[in-house]
Symmetry: C2
Subunit: 314 residues, 2 copies
């Protein structure tokens, strides 16, 4: 199929199903060859019943990895053809115990031959092949169990979108959006305090002129995040005013801003980066931890909403 090559390995799902179909379409004819008048879909149930004298619907389903509904349907068809009999359990009247009839057992004998031959044919095909399909499937099952495809794709999305984010220095024209981004999240969780207005209305004076720095995150031409470091003394800066627009979350923008701030603080000769936050903001705290910050107990903060203090030694 040329399409597969165009689309690339993304088509792995379709391709797997295609191969599965290629293998299973022959099945119906196979049963005819062995003179057993059964439906291919009965096979797993049939096989399971040959292993245990009798079994309940749900138990069979679990064993063969299908739903009880599917087994129930198959059993009904098999019973109609006289391959199995059903028997209600005495102790637990909900349970429906199923076992092979004589006709079923006779068919099972023939199926046993078929099982032998199919196994032999498949094993021979395996021995003819260079790449081990069986092990490859096992490995993929394991890989996807460890981390689902969905999560893998989400990670790739984050990475791609993160690479499209630019971290730029604060410029006067950012004044308005700088305040807006911060006000947005503060109002969502808390209320604006006096000290907020001071820094947000006059970033140039309170932050930059004071020896600090502000970064802005730009995504698709739009400013979607910000973060600042404020000079406390020659050796200590505060990480503050971190804000990311809710529309742009999930793109690792906080991480990128944090990393830029840490780098800048080092350049400015800081030995410690300090911050105040609130334990209510779990994603933020997680981000700080990921950046290397650790909880400390310091002097009280001027901000009402602050209930946790953290520090990073540079």
């Amino acid at each position: 199929m040329d399409f597969y090559n165009k689309v690339g390995k993304m088509a792995i799902g379709s391709r797997l199903r295609g191969l599965s179909d290629l293998i299973t379409t022959d099945a119906a004819q196979l049963y005819r060859i062995y003179g057993v008048d059964i439906q291919p879909r009965w096979w797993p149930v049939f096989y399971s019943l040959t292993q245990t004298t009798e079994n309940s619907i749900t138990a069979i389903g679990i064993e063969i990895g299908q739903t009880h509904a599917s087994v129930s349907q198959v059993i009904r068809e098999m019973a109609k053809q006289g391959f199995v009999t059903e028997r209600k359990n005495k102790h637990d009247k909900r349970k429906n115990f199923v076992s092979l009839t004589d006709k079923g057992k006779a068919a099972a004998m023939k199926l046993n031959d078929q099982h032998k031959d199919v196994s032999a044919a498949i094993n021979r095909a395996f021995s003819e092949s260079q790449y081990d399909l069986w092990k490859a499937i096992e490995e993929w099952e394991y890989l996807l169990e460890q981390k689902s495809l969905l999560r893998r794709v989400q990670e790739e999305k984050k990475k791609r979108e993160g690479s499209m984010v630019q971290i730029v220095d604060y410029r006067p024209e950012h004044k308005c959006v700088f305040k807006q981004l911060n006000e947005e999240w503060i109002r969502q969780y808390f209320k604006m305090e006096e000290s907020d207005y001071k820094a947000l209305d006059h970033p140039d004076e309170y932050i930059i002129a004071n020896g600090g720095h502000i970064f802005m995150a730009v995504y698709e031409g739009e400013v979607v995040g910000t973060c600042a470091i404020i000079k406390m003394n020659d050796k200590k800066f505060e990480l503050a005013k971190m804000a990311v627009s809710p529309r742009a979350q999930g793109k690792s923008i906080g991480t990128l801003l944090g990393q830029a701030c840490i780098k800048k603080a080092k350049e400015l000769g800081a030995g410690t980066l300090y911050l105040e936050s609130n334990t209510l903001l779990k994603p933020a705290i997680n981000l700080y931890l990921k950046l290397g910050f650790q909880k400390i107990t310091g002097p009280p903060s001027p901000y009402e909403r602050s209930n946790i203090q953290m520090e990073l030694k540079l």
Copy 2:
């Protein structure tokens, strides 16, 4: 799934489908993440349409490896949601040309990102894996194209059943079945001749006492085939009276009998094995060819039904 291990590699079909499901079930959620309101099953059609400005139903089907019926259904759904428009072809009014609307194109842009991320995720998974699933699938597709699973199983069946066939020397109690087996096939195609009765009614005198040999094939305790070598002179034997019961055909019994006769003829010091047959009996002629016999032109035969003569140099 424990069942897989019990059943062995015969479950390869189910297992492939299982893995395919594991990969494709995530798909539905994926589209939501990318903010595109499309059905996963639309994807191949969608992708195909982004490659060509417009295309007909059947052509799309061929490209994506599905039936036109499937494409027709998908297009109907997509049109209802306004992703595509249909346009009857002027020159050929049967054709229905489909193209993306603006809404469709916008969705295609988003899908493009999704395609990138999914491809990246899958490629990363491939690079994490040790066994190459992709190549393994390719190889199996090739193997099954060369020889279908059905044929492979049939071969195994033949081999297994062949190994259950015993070739034994003629004993007096075989007299009746020896005649019966031969009469059965002769009557089916021709009519019994005078010379038939001589050899079939008195095998001891005409064949064995004369320095020849008769083999019987036994399957599941029942005599199901026979074949004889008749001495023509010290260096030349005739292969004759080969008969296999129709109920036991397809088990390579003819081959086994033939091989036994060839071996015996060698032991008896023959240099040539000769036979007469009829070109009507194609499977028989094929068997003789497979055993190494070649067509010759010799003196006329006493049997009316003989129209071909063959010989094997030992």
